[in-house]
Amino acid sequence: MAMRSLTLATTTIASAAMAALLFAGAASAQDTIKIGVTQPLTGAFAASGNYVAYGAKIAEEEINKAGGVLGKKIELVIEDNKSNPTESVATAEKLIVKDKVPVLIGAWSSTLTLAVMPKLEEYKVPMVVETSSSGKITTSGNPYIFRISPTSAMEAKAFTPLFKSLDIKKADFLATNNDFGLGASKEFSEAAKAAGVSVGVTETMDPKATDFSAQLAKIKASGGDTLFVTTAVEQITLILKQAKDQQLKARIITTGGSNSPDQLISQAGDAANGSMHLVFFTPWFPEAVKNPDLAKRFVDLWNEKKHPVGGLTEGFRGSDALNVIVAAIKAAGKAEPEAIRKALWDVKVKGINGDIAFVKQGPAGKESAQNEPSVYLVKIDGGKVVKQ
């Protein structure tokens, strides 16, 4: 028995090695520039991760139609990190070591991105962060991070004037119990206090939880006029429905931009009416964004592919991230990690969210790059998304 499994193991390893050699040969023969993407294509964040991947693929097609970059075609290598930090690290390592990608896009949630970061330093490969909003990502001194999405602090800052105009007197918080949720509730409650708004309770929930009755009963007892919710769209849907069941009177405002108002309208129905959402792209009124032509074109391409309309608010992230990378490769004149990293600092790209450029953030000498994106507040009213 032991002998047989030993033989089996040897054979397996040998054939795996052969396969790896074959693939490596095939890859170097092709004349493309590979770009690695790690996204949650399965697991808790599957819907959002797939949308980002769709967006990146739309951009890939557009770029290649226009002749690619440096005379070569772009080739996305998309790996599934299964919404799991361990897998997130494994996919990044696979993309860097096996596919030899010079740059990555990833990894959707803050927790997934934070897990990958040490590998970027180890292999000296830059990554464009398209979604994550935890402050830690750009303040921990990792010079390979180029974030195009806003930090929670930026969102809170953009929101600050609205405390007054929305007449918010007392705010409560409900956040998913991870880097994303906890970071956002901290930044928003600090911003609220600074604006003279009193802060009630801050409740948390497991990222996989579906029943929030206990948290909502406590929030109702706290009696704030506004509840800030930070999590992904699946939990937001349930919170809206359950808040209605418990007759929570507070106005609900969601942060983080992974709130897909279209999906909320179709799934939470009536319960979604009156809620407000911070988003980073407004496909309902593309004329209102900084680069309306790009926005309209992206919405058209998305609809042509028959992707779900609710995914647009995630999908644009993938497209913007890839366009930033291609601009950097063009400026660098070669597709090598260090050259791309240097070039990324100087890119100026017109994106769907707005104009993208990086500023320094984090400890001196080891700064990460952070874009200053546009943030929009929209409201769901009568089953439609309206400008706020």
Partner: protein
């Protein structure tokens, strides 16, 4: 005071569904001794079948629940027939590995068929909640609670008051003796697994419209169900029922008055305490060894 009343009502409603999850698993894990990691997947399967029936086929809501439960029973029977029948007599580790494989395959199958985007199921219940003085609850959840209690009572009666139930108890107490007494143990194995699976599918079909339906929804169901069964004692329907309510009250009150971040830890904390004091769980039947 209003907050306490609302917490109590919430816990009662939640407890009914936890109990339903628990009794399905206590049959399979407690009586058959199969460490059933597919329990949550049957829960998700029930929810998806209800979604398909109501939203895609336009079936009547209540009929769709029956339809989903029936398909859950069939899928459970299939899992037992294809996977477990060949493993009878295999050690617990082998069975556990096979069930982990089935869990992964079923979950990824759901993802493939239905995609990762959450689905919601329309219900015939009013969207305004039922208001009882200072507290309120949705009509849909009251319906779930009532049906859950009916299913629990029916399962209890089936196991303890019918010939089939007696045959089930006999088979899992001593397979060989039961076979010698003329019990068809193969069909008893299939029937028990199918019944437990049907209860999981029932929980999924009932809760799918309350929450949303998505491929990984079963993970939570599996972990809660195991907790409830261990809390209540293996193989005891009363234990699983009471265990379900205790878990719900612990979570609800723990989250309400201690810390919501530890909501899901509360139940497990209690389980540790109970197992220290009473290692067989609260209501375990006496074990016969050898």
């Amino acid at each position: 005071m209003d907050q306490l009343l609302q917490h109590t009502l919430n816990a009662l409603i939640l407890g009914g569904t936890y109990a339903l999850l628990g009794i399905g698993l206590t049959l399979i894990f407690g009586i058959m001794r199969v460490v059933n990691f597919t329990h949550g997947e049957l829960y998700a399967f029930g929810a998806y079948m209800a979604y398909m029936a109501v939203m895609l086929m336009g079936m009547n809501f209540f009929l769709a629940l029956v339809f989903a439960i029936a398909l859950g029973v069939l899928l459970g029977a299939l899992v037992e027939f294809v996977l477990l029948r060949n493993l009878r007599g295999a050690d617990i580790d082998t069975t556990m590995l096979v069930m982990i494989g089935a869990w992964i395959a079923l979950q990824n199958g759901e993802q493939l068929v239905w995609s990762g985007v959450a689905k919601s199921i329309d219900t015939p219940f009013p969207t305004t909640p039922l208001i009882l003085g200072p507290v309120s609850v949705s009509y849909n959840r009251v319906f779930v609670f009532v049906v859950a209690l009916l299913l629990i009572v029916a399962s209890y009666a089936l196991i303890n008051r019918t010939r089939l139930g007696k045959a089930m108890r006999a088979t899992f107490q001593d397979r060989d003796t039961a076979a010698l007494m003329g019990v068809n143990i193969n069909s008893i194995y299939t029937a028990t697994f199918a019944l437990g699976s049907g209860l999981a599918a029932a929980a999924g079909a009932l809760l799918g419209p309350v929450f949303v339906v998505y491929p990984t929804m079963g993970d939570m169901a599996t972990s809660k169900a195991f907790a409830i069964v261990i809390l209540g004692g293996l193989g005891s329907i009363q234990g699983a029922t009471i265990g379900g309510f205790i878990l719900a009250f612990m979570e609800e009150l723990g989250a309400g008055y201690i810390s919501s971040g530890y909501r899901d830890a509360m139940g497990f904390l209690l389980i540790m305490l109970i197992l220290i004091v009473k290692p067989t769980g609260l209501f375990a039947q006496k074990e016969r060894i050898g």
